[in-house]
């Protein structure tokens, strides 16, 4: 097994505390061991892509990180707080600073785009007047280039537009960290490229840290500062895209062929 192909080259990140730290994470469903001693760290303004085959446990990992699934053992520290045994209201405070883009977008069908975007603001008790809320909604829609959809229903939007609106909903709270669950799955290559560009531009604009779960090599190549390969529930390899591309390990090479 190859671990840590290279020491992380960005000196500034190694000097900082990680915004997300996953240590020795174990998660199984019955006899199916999904995550086995998995560890990963994410630093400020960095984009880490977790690469793995379908069913390798990538989505389970990201749901453990945001507290939707409870790990069997191991530590998850998100924005300086250990979330394993945290109280629900404290977890909600951390979640307000951590956005999550769902694979299926998870837009509320019964609400308009505006109501979808307002929902996290209202639920996290963000103190803002209606004018401020309207401005925040408009800003988030401007970021994803879909201002004209404000009064539309999710069912009226295309797959790519829904993904952008879901991203706008994630952005509205100005999160410090964004977790992306398969952001380009189910999209055509052109739209997928647009979403990748959007992820990159958001990272540059807001200096957010991003953990992207993907098996799309275009996404891995274009969005990542660092790539973690998840095989057999473990962190099999960790390095930049270029470094992993040069690897001769057959289990790593299979992703790049």
């Amino acid at each position: 097994m190859i671990e840590n192909i290279t020491e992380h080259t960005n000196l500034s990140t190694t000097l900082n505390q990680p915004v997300l730290s996953v240590e020795h994470l174990y998660k199984s469903f019955g006899k199916n061991k999904v995550l086995v001693d998995f560890s990963v760290e994410l630093y400020k303004a960095e984009t880490v892509v977790v690469l793995g085959k379908s069913g390798s446990g990538k989505s389970v990992l990201i749901k453990c990180i945001i507290g939707l699934l409870a790990p069997d053992s191991g530590n998850i520290t998100l924005l300086g707080k250990r979330i394993n045994d945290i109280k629900e209201d404290e977890l909600d405070k951390i979640r307000a600073k951590a956005g999550f883009l769902f694979q299926s977008n998870a837009l509320y069908d019964s609400m308009t785009v505006k109501e979808n975007l307002e929902f996290p603001l209202r639920r996290h008790w963000i103190k803002a007047s209606q004018a401020e809320v309207n401005q925040m909604v408009e800003d988030a829609l401007t970021d994803v280039g879909l201002q004209h959809t404000i009064n539309m229903m999710p069912a009226e939007l295309s797959g790519g537009m829904r993904k952008r609106i879901a991203l706008a909903r994630t952005l509205i709270l100005k999160p410090e960290i964004i977790l992306y669950d398969e952001p380009t799955t189910g999209l055509d290559p052109i739209t997928a490229r647009e979403i990748i560009e959007l992820i990159k531009s958001i990272q540059v604009k807001y200096k957010t840290s991003s953990l992207v779960i993907s098996h799309d090599m275009n996404c891995v190549k274009n969005a990542s500062n660092r790539v973690v390969i998840l095989i057999d529930g473990r962190c099999y390899a960790n390095g930049t895209y270029a470094e992993l591309l040069e690897s001769q390990d057959p289990r790593i090479k299979q992703f790049f062929e």
Binding site: K63, I66, L68, A96, F102, A106
Partner: protein, 256 residues
């Protein structure tokens, strides 16, 4: 073997529904209270069901009266039709039929809505957005169903009796005053209140089973369809079981 596994599945499901109901009562009293969403659900579950309930109740009263008439004429008690229809509708047919219609409309819609929200990760998205999805989705819907069904039953009973008035007047002539005097003369507290109270339990059963089926929907569109379907089937059976228990209880308490 098959009988055993069916029995095991039935017992497992009964246990799961009981736990789900326990969770509902635990969450109900805990803040934060989702008052706005509760009233929105009351509007959707109660007000939006009124046209269907009203129409079926009216036809029910009309048809019951017309079907009853020949036998009543044979026995020479035609004049007692308003009284008999009033007793039948208020005590039994009104609450049960309206609850079954309610189960068909609301139980299936709750089951399908929550099932589809579960499958498309909307429930997870709510949790990530700082919302307790159980309180926001389940508690509000169950409470709205519990409080709205008795109102619908009351209104449905009244509409049904208007249908009966029309039915009486198709073949004979009975004045509006005489009809309603006969209705109110025969009805007593012990007829109205047990029927009213059991409607709360019917509404609760429809709400909790619809939410349970939707909230625990399996992945995929087939799972959503199955949730909606079994929400209606199980809550309809529950309505009859609760009705049976209510009759026994009112009998024991001397309301009959």
């Amino acid at each position: 073997m098959s009988l055993n596994s069916n029995l095991q599945r039935f017992l497992n499901e009964t246990g799961d529904i009981s736990r789900f109901t326990g969770r509902f009562f635990k969450q109900w009293f805990k803040p934060r209270y989702e008052i706005a969403e509760f009233f929105r659900q009351c509007f959707l579950i109660g007000y939006r069901s009124l046209p269907l309930v009203g129409l079926t109740a009216f036809i029910l009263g009309l048809v019951l009266t017309m079907q009853l008439r020949p036998s009543m004429v044979d026995y020479g008690v035609e004049s007692q039709i308003p009284a008999i229809v009033a007793i039948a509708i208020v005590r039994e047919i009104g609450p049960v039929i309206i609850a079954l219609i309610f189960a068909g409309k609301i139980g299936s819609s709750i089951g399908a809505e929550l099932g589809s929200m579960k499958v498309t990760e909307q429930i997870d998205a709510m949790e990530v957005s700082g919302t307790n999805p159980f309180k926001y989705l389940v508690v509000t819907r169950v409470l709205a169903a519990t409080f709205m069904l008795p109102v619908l039953v009351m209104l449905g009973d009244a509409i049904s009796l208007y249908g009966s008035y029309l039915g009486v007047n198709i073949r004979s002539t009975t004045s509006f005053q005489l009809f309603w005097t006969q209705v109110f003369d025969i009805l007593s507290f012990s007829d109205v209140m047990p029927a009213y109270f059991k409607s709360y339990f019917f509404g609760f059963a429809v709400g909790i089973i619809g939410c349970y089926k939707g909230y625990n929907s399996s992945k995929g569109t087939e799972g959503v369809g199955r949730s909606a379907n079994s929400a209606v089937v199980v809550s309809s059976v529950m309505i009859f079981i609760l009705d049976l228990l209510a009759v026994q209880l009112t009998d024991l308490l001397g309301f009959n």
